[in-house]
Amino acid sequence: MAHELPYIAAIDEAITLEMQRDDTVLYFGQNMATTENEPYVDAFGKDRVRVTPISETAEIGMAVGAALAGFRPVVELYMAEFMLVAMDQVLNEAPRFRSMSGGQVKVPLVLKAGYGFTAGWAGQHTGTISSLFMGVPGLKVVVPSTAADAKGLMATAIRDDNPVVYLHHYLLTLEHGEVPDGEYLVPFGQAAIRREGGDVTIVATGWMVDRALGAAERLAAEGIQAEVIDPRTLAPLDTQTILESVDKTGRLVLVDQATRHASVASVIAGEVAEYGFSSLKAPIVQVTALDATIPYSEPLEAWVLPNEDKIVAAVQQVLGTAPVTA
């Protein structure tokens, strides 16, 4: 059975279910639990749900220490960029501890943060900085694009024995979707094929998945059938599903809200160029944000981002059907 929920509520449902199921799950962050009426405090008490000062380094470091002692902390960071304040903990302490100790410890924790809030939030709150995390051995990186995945990936993240960066897209916050009831786990490292098609493969993550599906509908009207793949987790990355699709279609368009030179698109392009070159009938095209800080001004903000028009044009380019411009 399933029920309909907004994306953000699906995340909360997963955290709540995991906290009910497992007493070692802790939840802390800024501005949480500031009143007696917060649902998490009501349900789990102020010992498990803690409000912290604006101290990202201490919050994440403390999560590492608690994880070493057997807890499963979820740290509410709100904005992915706030992790930049605490990069030593995120990149150089939490994910390396297990390896550097020769396997003596494990560090199960979840760093929950929103990203990509391109709705006038300007330069420091709108970035898609997932590639900073996906290149760090020991970290897992999750980017749900639907309400069901938001729930299932959060539950899996909490149960994972490694540090997981859970990146929810702010523009999906109120998007509704069908969410399975009760316990629901989405495995890491398994891409979802959101739409099947034989002419071109489009890979997209997060908010870009819906843009890619919109472009695919427009292309279908032209008789072009696009396959749309959502990797769902960036680390581990399911390159196998992408390679199999490219083997079928021979053409690949990569859509990523990140800047071109720090994107999962460039990583996938490298993998396909190396392992799927003989399948390709045309060069890979990447549709990414410009290598620029997201501008505040609304038309400029839209200009730097991928959109349906750019995806349609990229597909036409790889198919050699692009309209000839004078």
Partner: protein, 324 residues
């Protein structure tokens, strides 16, 4: 729980520990110069008194963290010399199977939760250990060693704030050797005493002569007894002296060498030996055996390290993720 004053038996135990640290590190310095120890090492010669007086009072279930100058803390906490030496030599028999090295030594069995190569990087992690102890309802106490250089870093201040706000059983032990790496304290802060930095938080704190093992023992013992009873945090600043450079091979051009006679007066081992004899705790003739037993254990550790194979390359990827 009350702290017990240092007695003759404990003093001999501390001396044995300090000799093990001193001779282990001197040997590591030689092995580094001979390239048997492959990487960067930071030695604590001159600071052994703090490690011994603090760690000897702790249990295996008291998590201890240290910075990049960590060999002494690991040894005092119970890390076996042979597996520590093998770790520094990058061997499979090392505590971390050769994957961590000097700056990342971890010995979970003895509650040594790790060194860090980033100054101050694990101070908030120790805070998490203290939070966990509280949540588990245990009387274990988290201890983190750091130098005076870490005090100007944000991690320290964020940790002190949260530890005091939540009254967690954490003891912050600052080894103030007057140098943050190569820079004297006066060049990077106007606050001379680390214990003054935390004054506004009303942390219970003290500054002691870190080369006076009795003073460190007493001050730390008091804080430990309180922390076992559920109080905290505490800050103990130990003024000490790093006899060598920041790292092994440091030419040390930024300071003058200490005169031999001045070092005789400061050396925590010699001081405790003189003190113990004056107190009538032991006779001078029992002391040489402590040094020679430590020397023998160190040589045994070197043999163990040399005989241990390098780790298999398969280990590298197997250690990246916990479920690999």
């Amino acid at each position: 729980m009350k702290a017990s004053p240092l007695d003759g038996e404990q003093a001999l135990r501390l001396l044995a520990t300090m000799w093990r640290i001193r001779l282990f590190e001197e040997r590591v310095g030689q092995l580094k110069r001979a390239d048997d120890v492959h990487g960067l090492v930071h030695l604590s010669t001159g600071q052994e008194g703090v490690a011994a007086a603090v760690c000897s009072q702790l249990r295996d279930d008291d998590p201890v963290y240290s910075g990049h100058r960590a060999h002494g803390h690991a040894i005092a906490k119970g890390a076996p010399l042979d597996r520590l030496m093998a770790e520094l030599m990058g061997r499979d028999g090392g505590l971390c199977r050769g994957l961590g090295g000097s700056m990342h030594v971890v010995d979970v069995e003895h509650g040594f939760m790790g060194a860090t190569g980033v100054v101050g990087g694990n101070i908030p992690i120790a805070l998490g250990s203290a939070l966990a102890a509280r949540r588990l309802g245990r009387d274990s106490v988290a201890v983190v060693f750091f130098g005076d250089g870490a005090v100007q870093a944000g991690q320290f201040n964020e940790t002190v704030n949260l530890a005091t706000l939540w009254r967690l059983p954490l003891i912050l032990v600052c080894e103030n050797n007057g140098f943050a790496e190569f820079t004297p304290r006066s060049a990077h802060t106007n606050v001379e005493r680390v214990s003054d930095v935390v004054a506004p938080y009303d942390v219970e704190r003290d500054t002691v002569d870190g080369n006076d093992v009795v003073a460190v023992w007493d001050a730390f013992g008091r804080y430990l007894a309180s922390a076992r009873g559920g109080r905290g945090p505490f800050l103990l600043e130990c003024l000490t002296y790093r006899l060598g450079g920041h790292y092994e091979g440091d030419p040390g051009k930024y300071r003058e060498a200490l005169a031999a006679a001045d070092w005789q007066a400061k050396d925590p081992i010699l001081r405790l030996q003189r003190h113990g004899i004056a107190q009538g705790w032991f006779a001078a003739d029992v002391l040489p055996a402590l040094e020679s037993e430590a020397a023998e254990a160190v040589e045994q550790a070197v043999r163990f390290g040399r005989e241990s194979p390098f780790p298999p390359v398969e280990l590298i990827e197997a250690m990246v993720y916990a479920d690999a």
